[in-house]
Amino acid sequence: LQSTTSTANSGLYDYLLPLFEKDTRVKVNVVAVGTGQAIKNAQNCDGDVLLVHAKAAEEKFIAEGYGVERFDVMYNDFIFVGPPGDPANIRNLRQAVGGLKKIAESESIFLSRGDNSGTHKKELSLWKYAGLDPVVASGTWYRETGSGMGATLNVAVEMNAYAMTDRGTWISFGNRQDFEILLSGDKDLFNQYGVMMVNPERCDKMNMQSAKTFIDWILSDKGQGLIANYQLQGQQLFFPNAK
Amino acid sequence: MQQSMRCEPAPNILLMPETNQNSQLPLKVSELCFSVAQKQLVSDFNLELNTQGLTAIMGPNGAGKSLLLRLLHGLLQADSGGIEWNRQSLDIKTRQAQAMVFQKPVLLRRSVAANIDFVLQHCQTTSRKSRREILEEAGLYEQHEQPARLLSGGEQQRLALARALATAPKILFLDEPTASIDPSTTRQIEHWLERIRESGVKLIMVTHDIGQARRLASDVVFMHRGRLLEHTNAKVFFDTPKSSQAQAYLSGELVV
């Protein structure tokens, strides 16, 4: 299973997979890397199932024949975190785009992952939506860490800076210090995870049977129910939405 | 250098008392030059050796004696000039019939015994002498387990000599082999060398010990500042040296 780091770091797999393995006697190995790398690895047939969150890239993956069929699995949402002092004053905003504008205006430090991950792509699309191009400010107030979510959050906390993260990572993140969720709930911040099997016609050595089993299981009522049940620190991390 | 050397069996001294023709001779050196960093260290050296027996190379410190040995043995590459052993250029086959005892013994970081084993292994025909015999002859059997580099100065020289002999060479270069050896062992080594010489091995020895050269040498090459000054019969050299430098050298005066 080629997966994004955010789902792996949230502990979801540690919770789900033992149950899955008990049900089906299929053993799952998780390789957790950035979304881009995960897709690349899957293109090289180095995985049977892909579970990521970058809808456009996923659809491209299917369209180019690397994968078979994409299913929505679950979602959660992105949030903006920042220092309690909230220098750009985004705390009471409802709209992500508005928050970004304020951050840009006040030139408050904003940390971007800058690694073409699902989260990063989402962030860029929001900037675009806001009509801003933060990349020109790269290295000044707009800082691209080129790292995973956790590392980026570590930097943000240290720099007293804003960052956008998925809620799952934030809840399970161990180094939050005094940071708070400052902006959330906008429908623009919706974070959809998709699952798909790599194309068995391209990858002759793949375990098609196991891959099918896994996808069926996670989309089944049981799998979806378990996702809904997964909680960390009393909060639900992912919301199943398989159709 | 890839092919391994086969040593001839050690010349059995008792069975070969007569001088037999050495297949490596004559040695012919013509117009040999060697320099390092513009400094001419060996110049226009001409030499012909076809005598059996021991040739002594003498001359003051820094005359180029050690360099000459290393050139003759093929360890250094001359700038110009030729070296021929029995009309053959210095190729691997010629060199395999030679051995050299260096001025500073180079001992492996191993036990005394392992230093001997190292050359014995290399000789594919089983040499007639065993490691034990060799070490006993050199008076080092008692110390065979000791690290070779912790031997005393004289013991190290003896080991180096014994090791060179174990390869049963036809030509043996000796660079001041008894410099730090005590008088009685020196005598003993001289007797060894005489026997080896009689078995047909050609000896080319550098020494500063005039008495030793008198006792052993059949001819003397006298060098000075990288040049050959004299090459004559030993008796002639010691009784009537021609060059003033050789006269000074022999009388213990300062050679300029």
Partner: protein, 235 residues
């Protein structure tokens, strides 16, 4: 700073708890690094010694290349190995991606230049002394090289330890070809990286301390071995 002190406590707890998962990770780390370093020494010693001893055209280039390869970035090695053994790669049929074997291969590639370059230096220094004696004996290279390696053996131990240090601490290559898969290819360093990315800094540091303790014990063992052997026939 509380992470700092708490990680000592954590490390201690980790160690005395004999956690099965931790032991598994430690075991894999040791196994992979030790195998890699042994193979790297088997390749690197003769390679380094040969370059030290042989005179051939282009030797300087090889020398420079070898030194430069000490700066081979682990991620690049990881990528190269990945491309070779990925199912799409030429060696895909071996089916070793995301296995300890793949990690060992990546580490070998990473360590061989280090072992070889340092060996070259040590052997070259020794060979300066032995060279004329060996040439006088007309020894073939096949005897010169083992003899030099043997005589430099105690110094070469430090070279091996440098290689081992690199291997045991390495994360960039093994995470790409190993995938950091729990219970399969998770090592100490990849765990540390994982915990760091989760923000569990104290735990990451604690794991680091455990890892350091591990290489400390390996080094102590090697040192004891060397000390007990050294006074035999060596100077």
């Amino acid at each position: 700073m509380q992470e700092f002190s708490s990680s000592f406590g954590l490390a201690f707890n980790l160690l005395i708890s004999f956690d099965a998962d931790l032991l598994e990770i430690i075991g894999l780390s040791l196994r992979v690094s030790l195998i890699a370093v042994v193979i790297a020494a088997i390749i690197g010693f003769p390679l380094g010694a040969s370059i030290a001893v042989m005179r051939f055209p282009g030797r300087q280039v090889v020398d420079i290349l070898l030194n430069a390869l000490m700066g081979l970035p682990p991620v690049v090695v990881g990528l190269l190995v990945y491309m070779m053994i990925s199912r799409a790669g030429p060696l895909g049929w071996l089916n070793i991606l995301y296995s300890p074997t793949a990690m060992i291969i990546a580490q070998i590639i990473l360590i061989v230049p280090i072992v070889a370059a340092l060996t070259r230096q040590l052997i070259e220094d020794l060979h300066r002394e032995y060279d004329e004696q060996f040439r006088s004996l007309c020894l073939p290279m096949s005897r010169v090289i083992p003899a030099l390696i043997w005589d430099a053996r105690y110094s070469l131990l430090t070279v091996v330890l440098a290689g081992f240090g690199r291997a045991i601490a390495e994360v960039g290559a093994v995470i790409i070809v190993g995938g950091n898969i729990n219970h399969l290819t998770r090592m100490m360093t990849t765990s540390i990286a994982l915990e760091t990315s989760k923000g569990n800094l104290a735990l990451a540091l604690a794991l680091g301390l455990v890892l350091l303790l591990l290489s400390l014990s390996i080094n102590a063992a090697v040192y004891a071995l060397r000390a007990s052997a050294k006074h035999l026939a060596y100077a």
